[in-house]
């Protein structure tokens, strides 16, 4: 029997038998869409009418001057509708769901961005929608839960396991094995069983295709390096896809959490703590113990707090095409602060990992070098986390007041 969806031995399709037919149908629909230029054109049209595509490539003049090294450009995925690159993937999968004639979508979400994007897509396209979210993430990202519910989605807090993204994924699969005839699982990142890694990377490739064109327009030459944060790896795959065949360094930045020596991080490709395994339907590097049990991960940003990583990124590392680094929670807070003060941009905590790494490297590059940082999302959703991290007194006062008003 055929093996499909492998990249240097990573990937595959490890699914329960009950989902076999569902995946065959999905692979067929995806392959047909990919072979049909009209589908991609429809996708581009939707993204430019409904979202904000092409998103700008902003020259960060003040950061460039501040570091005195490479010229820093920022790809503005934060300007997508719902505030993150997640919109690219969900609108693409939404169009595919229409082709498959299904009526209901489910999704998992960590930071809540993918959940909000999916709920938005479902509202627009007329699908019923259920979102699974780890209980801990529900707490961390309450504003996004509020919006998902307002958009008409049912949000199910997942109380199993570590109560974060990986548990939400398991729960979404459990729903899917019961309801696959009517339901499509809009997986949020370039992970999971084939064809998801490849398909999500394809929809996200719009980021890199645009960025390459834009940098050539701005500067007439290619960047030295491009930086993207890595949760599951979809925004990174999106940016990297545009430069895969160019002499451009691809840098993925994972969650270093409290430091790679602390055991409290989510660095799968940039630390020694991960090993190859098979879970959630695919083979890749996982943060797991000797027996193969998944470990708890940590990051200040819910969207990077995941035990696995895209098999395509694992492959790019294996063949030496991409480099992976980690940024700590503290470095990320510094990076977001500096970006706000210098450029008036508020990157999501996830995206700020890419900023932090680029900031480490930019000063030692030459003034002729160009780097691109992917601002995968905007930071509004992180207001509670950031306010806590900076112990902001006025914010606390506001929250207290608000609570008192509710009690009264």
């Amino acid at each position: 029997m055929d093996k499909r969806g492998y990249f240097s031995g990573f990937g595959g399709c490890f699914i329960p038998e009950i989902l076999n037919e569902t995946f065959e149908e999905l692979v067929k629909a995806y392959e047909a869409a990919k072979a049909d230029p009209a589908f991609w054109q429809e996708y581009i049209d939707v993204m430019s009418n409904y979202s904000c595509r092409p998103t700008p490539l902003t020259f960060a003049e003040n950061l460039t001057n501040h570091f005195g090294g490479a010229r820093i450009y920022i790809k503005r995925e934060d300007l997508n509708h719902t505030g993150a690159h997640k919109a690219n993937n969900v609108m693409g999968q939404g169009l595919l769901v229409k082709r498959m004639g299904k009526k209901r979508v489910i999704a998992e979400t960590g930071a809540g961005q993918h959940g909000v994007a999916t709920a938005t897509m479902a509202a627009r396209m007329g699908f019923e929608c259920t979102i699974y979210m780890g209980e801990e993430d529900v707490e961390r990202q309450r504003p996004n839960v509020f919006w998902m519910e307002r958009l008409g989605a049912t949000v199910v807090p997942v109380t199993d396991g570590s109560r974060t993204l990986k548990d939400a994924i398991n729960e979404a699969f459990r729903d899917w094995v019961s309801n696959m005839d009517t339901t499509h699982y809009v997986l949020g990142t370039a992970c999971g069983p084939h064809p998801f890694p490849e398909m999500v990377a394809w929809f996200q490739s719009i980021i890199g295709i645009e960025a390459r064109k834009q940098i050539l327009e701005h500067e007439g030459r290619l960047p030295k390096s491009v930086y993207a944060c890595v949760g599951g790896g979809s925004n990174a795959m999106g940016l990297f896809s545009g430069f895969m065949d160019d002499p451009v360094e691809l840098v993925g930045v994972e969650a270093g959490g409290k430091g790679l020596d602390s055991g409290k991080h989510a660095a799968r490709l940039s630390s020694k703590d991960a090993s190859v395994g098979v879970a959630q339907g695919y083979k890749t590097y996982f943060l797991q113990d000797h027996d193969g049990q998944m470990k708890d991960t940590h990051s200040i940003s819910a969207g990077l707090d995941y035990v696995g990583v895209s098999p395509i990124l694992a492959h790019l590392q294996a063949i030496g095409r991409a480099r992976f680094e980690a940024a700590t929670d503290a470095e990320v807070l510094e990076a977001v602060t500096l970006t706000m003060r210098k450029e008036g941009l508020i990157p999501a905590l996830e995206s700020s990992h890419a900023f932090a790494q680029a900031f480490k490297e930019a000063p030692s590059l030459s003034k002729d070098d160009i780097v691109i940082i992917n601002q995968s999302g905007r930071g509004d959703k992180d207001i509670f986390t950031v306010a806590d991290a900076f112990n902001d007194p006025a914010w606390k006062e506001f929250i207290k007041h608000k609570a008192e008003q509710y009690d009264a």
Binding site: M1, C13, F14, P16, E21, G161, D291, Q293
Partner: protein, 253 residues
């Protein structure tokens, strides 16, 4: 050989009972007592689940049992030791049920070898479709262990035949879509499905997912060879302890 054992038993009984436990839930001593009780109450085969942190295909009852067992700190080594102990103590076929990562991290070949040493008969690995199972099949065959594959209600007959080429011992048929432990309708359509299953393989058929009482087992008689009881036994254990498990198993036929 597992298939022969099953056929010999079927010469004496019209339906066999297979039960499922999660090793180490709620603790290793209780697990052993549950096995003893089940065997004494007349169970014909048993699945011993090695707990996994991401039991994707399991419903709420078994999911919780997996997590609680892991919370006690149980290791894969201890699960092997447990399997060895029960296989030495009781003369029925014991199978491992677990997810592929447990085998993969252990080393698939070493895993199958140790299974054989422990006196196990085979394994059920629900997230390992035959397409991904080359290493597993080679190792299981080499060590005389039966790889049990699964037929879902939507598996086509052509695919059933392909799956059957790789399976040994018996085929595990799911009574419905979904995860383990939820309500199943044991009526009409299910009989048709089992007819298709029967037509596509020479192997004995087991039927599981939602089997919870004597009426369900009665329904299965004549249509499949083995009735599989999973979540319901854990529920009974949770509510009434080991003695309740014995009464429950005896009530099934």
């Amino acid at each position: 050989m597992l298939e022969t054992t099953i056929r010999n038993k079927l010469a004496q009984k019209d339906i066999l009972l297979m039960t499922h436990i999660v090793i180490g839930y709620p603790d290793l001593d209780t697990s052993f007592e549950v096995v003893r009780t089940m065997v004494e109450a007349g169970v014909d085969l048993m699945e011993l689940q090695i707990p996994f942190s991401e039991p994707m295909a399991d419903g709420p009852v078994i999911l919780k049992a997996n997590q609680d067992a892991l919370a006690t700190g149980i290791t894969v080594d201890e699960c092997f030791d447990f399997a060895e102990k029960v296989a030495a103590a009781y003369d029925i076929p014991f199978l491992f049920m677990t997810y592929y990562n447990i085998l993969f991290k252990y080393g698939v070949e070493a895993f199958a070898e140790r299974m054989a040493k422990c006196g196990l008969c085979g394994a059920i690995v629900p997230d390992l479709p035959p397409e991904e199972a080359d290493d597993y099949l080679a190792a299981m065959n080499k060590h005389g262990m039966a790889p049990i594959f699964i037929y879902a209600p939507n598996t086509t007959e052509a695919r059933m035949q392909r799956i059957a080429e790789h399976g040994k011992g018996f085929i595990y048929c799911m009574a419905r879509k979904g995860v383990t432990g939820l309500q199943t309708d044991f009526s009409g359509q299910l009989g048709d499905h089992l007819d298709h299953c029967r037509a596509s393989t020479q192997l004995p058929l087991a039927l599981g997912f939602g089997v919870k009482d004597r009426a369900d087992v009665e329904f299965i008689k004549g249509k499949a060879d083995i009735a599989v009881v999973g979540s319901q036994a854990i529920r009974v254990l949770d509510e009434g302890g080991v003695p309740a498990v014995e009464a429950f198993i005896r009530s099934l036929r």
